[in-house]
């Protein structure tokens, strides 16, 4: 199954063709995104700089949630507490930053990222130590983290340091390059690309595609699983910070990020069984989902039908994916 399209390229010489083959799903998705953008421009000729900037800002929290989910799904797990972790980190940052200086804001951001690591470590340790299925543990922990968020802040409130708000709004240099997109790409590139090339990244893929084989090859399975959850916690914290930055406040009620992140990951070509795909596919998938929503608004389609379309796309994509896999298994 995994021999047909190895997702981890370990060879030193990587030809363009093999890169294209390994990332065919992502490339197809990017093509689809381009088509969608053209389509958007056709139905709404005024779609331009503001549209792209709006897209980048609205995509940012969801894209970070999708990256968080992608990492843990690649390792063969799932995290249903991402939305709750984002709410918790968002309210903590908003509460601490309100009315404080910019310098203190930096301290808060670092602290909140550490908090994200801690939340992820708790999730991962519970999954590994109790041996309870990860769906159950992270579902239960989503109650715990959401409850903690409510304890920190009862109603939406708090504030954000000005530099954090400036970080995601507006554009950098060229007006076509939204800051939010730059932030997203640089954060992901800084963490994910070195990780993927490292031994640890390979271990994460290995335990996702075959846990027993990974164990017998000397991969510390338990530790690697916990690290995958820790990284998920880190990106959830980044997502929480981006919520604080883009709204200027913290909201203690988790948004739809957990379920949307699962949808984006699947659409982005990450196999739910683990070991396949990457985070960039998930990011493109988030943009596709968001743009479909925007297009439906432009077309004056009932927004509720947009929800229907999202569900149908999610199901349809997975169905096609598993059909391809079934045929491959038979052929």
């Amino acid at each position: 199954m995994s021999a047909a399209a190895p997702s981890v390229t370990t060879g030193r010489t990587i030809s363009l063709a093999s890169v294209a083959k390994g990332n065919s799903w992502t490339l197809g998705l990017i093509g689809f995104l381009a088509l969608l953008l053209v389509f958007t421009k056709l139905i709404q000729p005024s779609y331009g700089v503001t549209g792209v900037q709006g897209l980048a800002i609205s995509v940012l929290p969801l894209a970070l949630a999708a990256v968080a989910q992608a990492i843990v799904v690649i390792s063969g797990g799932i995290d249903l507490s991402i939305g709750a972790m984002m709410a918790l980190t968002s309210v903590v940052s908003a509460t601490l930053m309100k009315g404080q200086t910019d310098e203190f804001g930096v301290v808060v951001v670092v602290g909140v990222l550490l908090l994200g690591l801690l939340l992820g470590a708790v999730n991962g340790a519970l999954v590994v130590v109790t041996r309870v299925p990860d769906i159950v543990v992270t579902l239960a922990m989503s109650f715990v983290w959401a409850g903690c968020a409510l304890l920190v802040l009862k109603t939406p409130g708090g504030g954000s340091a000005q530099w954090l708000k400036d970080l995601v709004s507006g554009s950098l240099g060229n007006e076509w390059i939204p800051k939010a997109a730059v932030v997203l790409i640089s954060v992901v590139a800084l963490v994910w690309i070195p990780l993927r090339r490292s031994r640890l990244g390979l271990s994460i893929y290995a335990i996702g595609s075959n846990r027993l084989a990974a164990f017998r090859s000397g991969v510390p399975v338990g530790r690697t699983r916990i690290i995958a959850y820790v990284l998920t916690g880190l990106f959830a914290a980044l997502g929480g910070l981006s919520l604080t930055a883009s709204t200027g406040i913290g909201t203690p009620v988790p948004g739809p990020y957990t379920l949307m992140s699962v949808a984006a990951v699947v659409l982005g070509g990450v196999a739910l069984s683990g070991g396949r795909g990457g985070v960039f596919g998930a990011i493109v998938a988030v943009m596709v989902l968001q743009l479909i929503r925007t297009d439906m608004t432009f077309l004056r389609v009932n927004t509720n039908l947009a929800v229907v379309a999202q569900g149908a796309i999610l199901i349809g994509v997975v169905m096609i994916g598993s059909l391809i896999q079934l045929r491959r298994a038979r052929g």
Binding site: V136, A140, F143, V262, L272, V308, G311, I315
Partner: protein
């Protein structure tokens, strides 16, 4: 008798531990009932005035919609699946009845709601059984589809307005004697149906078989896709019934009415001892699990804990109980 039990425990303590494990594994109902009794006693000790027949009636009444939704999780868990569309299906059903009861009458309204719910279930089953879509994704996507369509229906129905029919109100929130909520009239047959389905029928055994070992059951001639289509249809129908009762209990018709019940329904099935990985568990445990959750929520709100603390304790309890189960079942 006392000697016989006391001697081995004195000689080798591990034997008693193993015995406890055996009890927990083979008869999960006994420790669960113990936990329920413990919670009731705790409630009685902390708030003596609260515990009376009326309170018990309220607990049972509030448990019934959750127990029905947890039934959906239990039967889908058995095959290694999950049904996250129950919230949307239940809300949609309650809403359809509330909007159609005026123009079409109650029986027809209920029939329409059941057919629509059944259709969602059939589609779930086809996705999971034929196309092998992961149940989590399939039912999640279905819940989006159902929610969206229900919203469209809501906009179309704005003029006619909606009202929960009085029959459903009586059924959901009325009580005959203080102890006996009317919704038991619906719940008892449904619960008996599920229990007998799992205990006494070939279909029930197929559910356990598919969840326990899909390959072996396929080689033994079970057609998993047929079983799964029927299973998810039953699940959706039960969810619809839960939606009727819930709309009667709360006297509201809303397309998001049952959303907050989805995660607790998963929790109730997990606490009741049904493995999310399939092949192990049953509905009796789920019913007790539901009662445990409802009593716990009642106790925590009686003690004046804020919602936040309740959620934290709720989540912790699920992890602890699930960990205990995994420990005893893995040790075997």
């Amino acid at each position: 008798m006392t000697e016989a039990t006391a001697t081995p425990s004195a000689r080798s303590p591990w034997l008693t531990a193993a015995r406890w494990r055996g009890l927990f594994r083979d008869q999960p109902l006994i420790p669960l009932l113990g936990l329920l009794a413990l919670l009731v006693v705790l409630t009685w000790l902390l708030r003596p005035a609260l515990v009376n027949p009326g309170w018990a009636g309220v607990i049972v009444r509030q448990s019934i919609p959750l127990a029905l939704l947890a039934a959906c999780q239990t039967i889908t868990f058995l095959t290694g699946g999950i049904d996250l569309s129950v919230g949307a299906v239940a809300s949609m059903s309650g809403f359809v009845v509330a909007t159609l009861v005026g123009p079409a009458g109650l029986p027809l309204a209920i029939l329409v709601a059941l057919i629509v719910a059944g259709l969602a279930g059939v589609l779930n089953g086809i996705g999971v059984g034929v196309f092998r879509v992961h149940p989590l994704i399939m039912t999640l996507g279905m819940s989006l589809v159902v929610l969206g369509l229900a919203n469209v229906w809501q906009l179309a129905m704005v003029q006619t307005g909606a009202g929960v029919p009085s029959t459903l109100r009586d059924l959901g929130s009325g009580t005959t004697v203080t102890l006996l909520p009317n919704s038991l009239v619906v719940f008892v047959p449904v619960a008996m149906f599920i229990l007998l389905l799992l205990w006494r029928t070939g279909f029930g055994r197929l559910l356990y078989a598919i969840g326990d070992n899909p390959v072996a059951s396929r080689l033994a001639g079970a057609r998993a896709w047929q079983v799964l289509i029927v299973l998810y249809t039953i699940s959706a129908i039960i969810a619809a019934i839960a939606g009727f009762i819930l709309s009667g209990l709360t006297n509201t018709a809303s397309v998001t009415l049952a959303d907050s019940y989805v995660l607790p329904s998963v929790a109730a099935a997990v606490i009741g001892g049904t493995s999310i990985l399939g092949g192990r568990g049953g509905y009796a445990g789920t019913i007790v699990g539901t009662l445990i959750l409802t009593v716990l929520i009642s106790l925590l709100s009686a003690l004046g804990f804020p919602e936040a603390v309740r959620q934290v304790l709720f989540g912790s309890l699920i992890v602890i109980v699930a960990a205990a189960y995994t420990r005893v079942t893995d040790a075997s």
